[in-house]
């Protein structure tokens, strides 16, 4: 197991005051909070920061960690000495919540804080197991066509000694057709087990992966469709990919870049279904040979056109 330098994670000095640690935490938590942040690996950073704060904000844990940490470098292989924490009294101020901490943390503090938080958050519904939550990335096709998808979920579990470990389980889930990003699937009885009662439910929140063609806006889909200048100017019928298959799309004459065409009801098949939008992009043919250059020159001669008229030029 690797030794973690919590001071380095938080970017504070080893003699930082409580106020400095709190300030550093708040700044980093805002930067990396998975709900807020668009930083790469935000979630991993956020967990690391949360773990560091959990230790450094609690005077007893910090003191124990400081004593332990002398002479260790981050990343170094590390084993805690047996009974290393026997002389510290843990008041249980820490709340592990549903965070999953590193093996390093779990080997030091996992037992106490998980067990305590378990007791404090006593299940208010005896006979009914806890509801669990997970977030998964889903391909858009699953929502468009329905079908089963397999997800591998990590589940933090406490063993009999109160130690925390991650278990994996794979679930095959039937995806309801028309599901939208941010919506949830309830899997009855797949949550926490209850002693002598019904198990809780598992709620899976889905988020769409980026699609190669379509952008998703709620239940609407949007496609950027390149057209040639003459197709836009004169009108044309062009082959266009849609979720339901290729369609012949009519481009009206005098279309402009950014013109939006709507195909009603051809978006995500929710109830009611979303729409499919085509946004036109004008693609310029390259003036790569003499013939093409002559065609551009002929256009310039035939049309007195000032594209900068709007700028007063």
């Amino acid at each position: 197991m690797e030794f973690k330098d919590y001071y380095q994670v938080m970017g504070v000095a080893r003699d930082a005051t409580e106020a400095q640690i709190k300030q550093a935490y708040r700044k980093l938590a805002r930067k990396y909070h998975p709900d807020v942040s668009k930083e790469k690996d935000a979630e991993a950073h956020f967990k690391e920061v949360g773990e560091a704060y959990e230790v450094l904000k609690t005077p007893e844990k910090r003191a124990a960690y400081d004593q332990l940490g002398r002479g260790h470098r981050p990343g170094e292989d590390f084993r805690p000495p047996p009974d290393w924490n026997t002389n510290f009294e843990f008041s249980g101020a820490g709340d592990a919540g549903d965070a999953d901490y590193s093996d390093f943390f779990a080997s030091l503090f996992g037992g106490q804080s998980r067990a305590q938080s378990g007791r404090r958050h006593a299940n208010p519904h005896p006979g009914h197991g806890d509801d669990h939550h997970a977030k998964v990335m889903l391909d858009l096709e699953a929502s468009l066509k329905g079908g089963a998808r397999a997800f591998t979920l990590k589940i933090p579990e406490l063993d009999e000694q109160g130690r925390l470990s991650n278990k994996e389980r794979t679930l095959n889930v039937q995806i309801p057709k028309g599901i939208l990003s941010g919506q949830q699937i309830r899997l009855a009885g797949q949550g926490g087990k209850a002693q002598g009662g019904t198990a809780g439910d598992l709620y899976i929140e889905v988020e769409f992966q980026r699609h190669s063609l379509y952008q998703v806006e709620g239940k609407d889909l949007l496609l950027e469709l390149p057209v040639a200048p003459w197709e836009a100017a004169l009108g044309a019928t062009v082959k266009t990919p849609t979720p339901g298959g290729t369609v012949e799309l009519k481009i009206p004459p005098e279309s402009r870049a950014g013109s939006k065409l709507r195909l009603k009801g051809r978006g995500i098949p929710s109830n009611p279904p979303g729409d499919f939008y085509v946004v036109l992009q004008i693609a310029l043919p390259p003036a790569s040979d003499d013939k093409a250059k002559a065609a551009y020159a002929a256009m310039a001669a035939a049309m007195p056109f000032n594209p900068r008229a709007g700028l007063g030029m």
Binding site: H33, D35, N172, V173, Q174, Q184, A188
Partner: protein
């Protein structure tokens, strides 16, 4: 085959046609009723406009409530801060969509 070991689970879609009672929301999010009441008073959550004696919420409230709880806990925000953060996040989301549509 693995299909036999892992049967396909049929779930229930929680969408805007789903109604969750205040007790459902409390149980699913592991929060107290008073917490939900405070969220409603601060405008973080909206009650579904239906004629039932108890408060009910649309499916989307589930994600919002869980985000609110996480923001409150992880960033040590007060309720007004949570409400503001969620509103700004909604706005960023819609601006980002506009931006994507214009690109």
């Amino acid at each position: 085959m693995s299909v036999a070991m892992n049967p396909t689970l049929q779930g229930t879609l929680i969408d805007e046609s789903t109604l969750l009672s205040i007790d459902d929301l409390c149980r699913i999010c592991s929060i107290e009723r008073s917490h939900v009441v405070a969220f409603v008073e601060e405008g973080v959550l909206e009650i579904a406009a239906i004629d039932l004696p108890e408060w009910h919420f649309r499916g989307g409230a589930l994600r919002r409530a869980r985000m609110a709880v996480r923001l409150q806990r992880d960033l040590e925000l007060n309720l007004i801060g949570v409400a503001l953060a969620l509103d700004l996040m909604d706005e960023i989301e819609s601006l980002r969509r506009d931006l994507n549509a214009r690109r």
